[in-house]
């Protein structure tokens, strides 16, 4: 059984440029209600939001339409993710606005597991490009490596 959850643990990413939407999908071996809670309760969010695996320094959630949330990683760099809830429909749908984009968490039953889709709908294709370019965490060395590669590619066109 543990081996199976390993193989299911794959995060896919699709880009729908026409709808300027980034779509991430992942299957979890847990019921929808539990995953919905994990997205909406501070004691849960604080455990998993930071990609670096640290607990959050700040995790504030006012779970109601129009209510705000604030997640801040310990860092460095301290990265804050601040937004407003738009729709709270447990156990299958959560909609919020953050970083100038609309985020949607959609949870579907899949034979005892849960298929999760996270959509990030940007305002325009241009914003989508910017969003991807910088990543969410511009502090990662990988992003800086990309910037160096980009600067080099520009210098060769100039030279």
């Amino acid at each position: 059984m543990p081996a199976q959850s390993q193989t299911a643990a794959k995060t896919n990413l699709d880009i729908d440029r026409g709808a300027h939407t980034i779509r991430l999908t992942r299957v979890f071996d847990a019921p929808r209600a539990q995953i919905f809670e994990a997205w909406t309760r501070p004691e849960d969010v604080t455990c998993w939001w930071d990609a670096a695996g640290e607990r959050l320094a700040v995790c504030e959630i006012d779970l109601q339409p129009g209510g705000s949330f604030k997640f801040v990683t310990k860092g460095p760099p301290e990265m804050s993710f601040v937004g407003t809830y738009r729709e709270i429909a447990p156990p299958d749908r959560l909609v919020f606005e953050a970083m100038g984009a609309t985020g949607r968490v959609i949870l579907q039953d899949a034979a005892g597991k849960t298929h999760m889709t996270v959509e990030i709908e940007c305002r325009s294709a241009e914003q989508l490009d910017q969003y991807l370019k910088m990543g969410v965490d511009v502090g990662t060395s990988q992003t800086l490596d990309n910037l160096v590669a980009y600067a080099r590619s520009r210098s060769t066109t100039v030279g």
Binding site: D29, Q34, A38, D50, A52, P77, T140, Y150
Partner: protein, 114 residues
């Protein structure tokens, strides 16, 4: 001459990127232009501090003033990207790590229940 100016600009950009607050400001501006007061909010920094960081980013050519001269919003300088694909994988990895954490967290909760 052209190359020298280019090298100067590049070292300015690296200096600007060396600071975590400035990188965080750039991350915020990926969501669209923002005024100084809008930038003060998430970072909990004073206006002079934000302005100082903005000046460094501006001098490095990483950000520029927006259209509205009154509000003086700042935005990312338009970089013409040739290959967007290079940027997608780090983005996906960031979310994959986050979902791995969530997966582990759900497993811990399951264990506590039984």
């Amino acid at each position: 001459m052209v190359m020298d100016r280019y090298a100067d600009r590049l070292s300015g950009a690296f200096h600007a990127l060396g600071d975590p607050t400035r990188r965080a400001i750039l991350a915020r501006l990926t969501a669209g232009e923002a005024t100084v007061s809008q930038l003060m909010e998430p970072f909990e920094l004073s206006q002079p501090t934000i302005s100082k960081h903005l000046k460094v980013l501006e001098n490095a050519g990483l950000i520029e003033g927006g259209r509205d001269a009154q509000r003086r919003p700042r935005r990312l300088a338009a970089l013409a990207m040739k290959d967007i694909a290079d940027w997608i994988e780090p983005f996906r990895q960031q979310w994959a790590s986050r979902f791995d954490n969530l997966d582990a967290h759900l497993a811990t909760k399951k264990k506590q229940e039984t």
